[in-house]
Symmetry: C2
Subunit: 219 residues, 2 copies
């Protein structure tokens, strides 16, 4: 259905060539192409610029997790071709506001990224008050891969609470095909998938499987 | 004296040419050259790599404010020539730990960057327990420039508390020459200065003035 959650592909690489090959292979299969944090760290705006050239019609998210200098950081990412950028959840409120104002001035969007944040509840109201529309609920890479943190009931509860506050919620972090049904009834706006699509024998076919699984549980 | 605080120059630019010109002009006047967060965002590792070539003998800090994927993010920055990198304060503890282990494996260093963090006290003990040695107490750019947040007694108290916990503390954020004497008696390891050096008629002379002011109040 029209309000089924979107599928976002995370290009989490530390160099451009494999990221571009995967973007080329998948940009027509997914709704959003993400230049991942490590890719932005390694290649800078050149990553965003090049993905924009390869995928002129895609919605591109640059996952910078901006911590400060919100207006200028948003501006250079949007100028390079990003439609959406992330701001880190612990950033000062004024930084979120500056980034949001830059986004609103040009039909772009910012998402507050919650990796590692403890005081989500306290900050969420302030974000809402200044007009933030989207957040990313993210089980960090290191949390998943080293600490083996799973998706638990408390995650789903917190996501529901954020949605009840009025945010559109993206979810990320080690999401595999068999985890999708656990989100049934949880109001998700975007599923962010990385390795579970990229590291399969036929990534386009896997992307389609994700879309079907998402439509089946949340369509 | 030998334990006078160090002077770090922040190259906060969004493109390489002005950053390189300033690095060339000042790298023999300052103790640490910082590739600022916006520069890393804009130019990626190429910024670190190029500054390393221009300043082969300098201590270089890459201010990535790493939020996740701590080990790999540290590795690629150190491989590019950085000696020190920052990890954002809200990063999951495991991310700080992964970055620290990478640093310890190769005689490099990480600093936990406190921009925007509310629960510093609660997290500081955990950082100490895993072996973190350095933190950056930072009044954010947007906080200073838009919100006009000043350096207040509570900042100095918090810095002293962090030093008492055993951290070497760097300070940053709109520090001007006339603010330095206010740090008298506050245990500072590194003063990070940006515009107050770069945006003066004679940046090398200004850098020397900062070194004198620092030695006079904290030498």
């Amino acid at each position: 259905m029209s309000d089924a959650p979107l599928l976002q592909l995370a290009l989490d690489y530390v160099s451009l060539p494999p990221a571009l090959a995967m973007a080329q292979l998948l940009h027509e299969e997914v709704d959003i192409i993400e230049c991942g944090t490590p890719l932005c760290a390694a290649e800078g705006l050149n990553a965003v610029r090049t993905v924009r050239h390869l995928c002129p019609d895609s919605l591109i998210l640059a996952d910078y997790k901006v911590p400060d200098v919100g207006g200028l950081s948003a501006k250079i990412a949007f100028d390079a071709g990003a439609n959406w950028i992330t701001v880190i959840g612990c950033a000062p409120l004024i930084t979120v506001k500056e980034a949001l104002e830059e986004a609103d001035s040009r039909d772009c969007e910012i998402l507050v990224e919650l990796t590692g944040l403890q005081d989500i509840g306290e900050r969420a109201k302030a974000w809402k008050d200044i007009g933030v529309r989207r957040v990313v609920y993210h089980r960090g890479w290191d949390e998943g891969n080293v600490d083996k943190r799973l998706w638990e009931q408390e995650d789903f509860d917190l996501i529901r609470q954020l949605a009840d506050t009025g945010f559109k919620v993206s979810v990320a972090g080690g999401l595999s095909l068999d985890l999708i049904p656990r989100f049934e009834g949880v109001p998700i706006s975007v599923f962010i998938i990385g390795r579970a699509i990229r590291e399969t024998p036929d990534p386009p076919a896997t992307a389609r499987q994700f879309k079907e699984a998402i439509a089946a549980c949340c369509g």
